[in-house]
């Protein structure tokens, strides 16, 4: 199979990897080199820059006082992170990863620097899980960069064959896709096969299929920040399932197609317009009014 055909869908990617005896991240790197006409070193260096900004955003959200422009969010990531030391129900690792994911989106809301993955509103999941896992398992930057290419490949399949925007397909297209990307990255970094990585991605999406995008006051804060926390745990759980040998009955490509169909069926009120769901609750509306009255400075 040709490299140019490998990224048509999950099945072609799996076959390309199998034929060449390579992981998904290697296929993604080869495609990027070819498409951008850059060397392997340049492509890796560009991704390393993304990793550096991801690390900075997790660090800032967990260690600095961040507050959003609207005043609606900030500081809760730190709270959860500290609490995580004291035998949390969701477990130490899950709690820390969820807090790290929240940290990034809190930094985003405070006009700090982040890496969209695949969007700004879902930027916490991949960064939070990868960086917390690396901290606990001693992964090198090189390993994490490989994981980012795996994640990028999965996101690319969603972008090509469905959508990765909340306006296009609801929250499932943002935090759902981010969790799928992250799950696949964890599987490949842990030595799982491409088919397991795609199964993990499929399961993560299945878990949140149909999730609407209903941002209060139209801002990337509520419920986005906490849905990143959920996305982080969703990703880790699905990676564990895939690595344990649990499989997805519905194959990855069919999940992508179903998610796309569902996304198009979600009424516009629930696709980033802030005209439904949590945005139009009495509290949501009151908050929106308050934000609208805010001064520019």
């Amino acid at each position: 199979m040709l490299l140019s055909e490998a990224f048509a869908n999950g099945e072609s990617l799996r076959r390309y990897c199998l034929e060449n005896g390579i992981p998904i991240y290697e296929a993604m790197m080869r495609r990027e080199e070819k498409q951008s006409e850059c060397s392997r070193e340049q492509v890796l260096a560009e991704m390393q820059k993304n990793l550096d900004v991801m690390k900075e955003s997790v660090y800032r959200g967990l260690n600095e006082k961040v507050e959003s422009v609207s005043g609606l969010s900030g500081g809760e990531a730190r709270r959860l992170f500290k609490y995580g030391k004291h035998n949390p129900f969701s477990g130490y690792t899950a709690c820390r990863a969820a807090a790290s994911a929240m940290a990034v989106v809190e930094v985003n809301a405070s006009m700090g620097r982040i890496v969209a993955a695949p969007t700004a509103g879902a930027s916490g999941i991949l960064a939070g899980v990868l960086i917390e896992s690396a901290r606990q398992r001693g992964w090198s930057d090189e390993t994490m960069v490989e994981g980012l290419f795996t994640a990028g490949a999965v996101g690319l399949l969603f972008a090509k064959n469905a959508t990765i925007s909340g306006a296009g397909g609801g929250c499932q297209a943002e935090t759902g896709v981010a969790a799928s990307m992250t799950a696949a990255a964890l599987v490949e970094i842990s030595g799982g096969a491409p088919v397991q990585a795609l199964d993990a991605a499929a399961m993560a999406m299945k878990n949140v299929m149909g999730l609407i995008c209903d941002p209060v006051a139209g801002l990337v804060e509520c419920p986005c920040i906490k849905r990143n926390a959920l996305g982080a745990v969703n990703a880790m759980l699905c990676a564990d399932m895939a690595l344990s040998g649990v499989t997805s009955l519905i194959p990855f490509d069919e999940v992508v197609a179903a998610m796309y169909a569902v996304g198009k069926d979600i009424r516009p009120e629930y696709r980033e317009t802030a005209r439904g769901g949590l945005a139009t609750t009495p509290t949501g509306k009151a908050v929106a009014q308050r934000v609208r009255r805010m001064q520019g400075e």
Partner: protein
Amino acid sequence: MEDFSVFDIIGPRMTGPSSSHTAGAVRLSHIARQIAENDVAEAAFTLYGSFAETGRGHGTDKALIAGALGMEPDDADIKDAYRIARERGVLVSVEYSDEPPKHPNTARIRIIGSQGQVTDVIGESVGGGNILITEINGLDVEFSGEYPTLVIQHTDKPGVIAEVSHVLAQLSVNIAFMRVFRHGKGEDAYMTIETDQPVTQDMQRMITRLCSGINKLFAV
């Protein structure tokens, strides 16, 4: 965008909170600044649609000011744009309009230069940090800023377009997209040329020298 790069998915690196309302807004006014030849003494912004509706909470005002000051979408100082404008003595003002725009995220940017010259730019933030410039000084245009873009103000007469494309060909610059816009026959006109290769300052000088009928040229 069929041929996604991995960096469309993991990226861009940007200052939050919103790719359309923040990153896109920075890019819009950054391009307006370039159209005003980087001479910005005063900048006035009018926000329409969703920009006006949720712009305050997304820092769209700060993003627009930051772009006019020359910042890029990943600049960590965007949130301090008001202060930085004050320090540099650049006068800024932001208005929120109720008028319905053509596109939900629209901004009108007026830049006044040190000699009092006025540049008016209207643009849209079309999602994911992508933008479209739709009007320059009252003239309809359309370009995205994704490619190196030449914006040329010229007199509407036969041969100008051929001369420009001929010079570009001599310079081995490939034209990806090209559009021509005019007020009326024989009046002021604009051409926007999106190219695969960047057009250096030397090249820009050469085009202005070799082609007749060019009143103004700037690269974005």
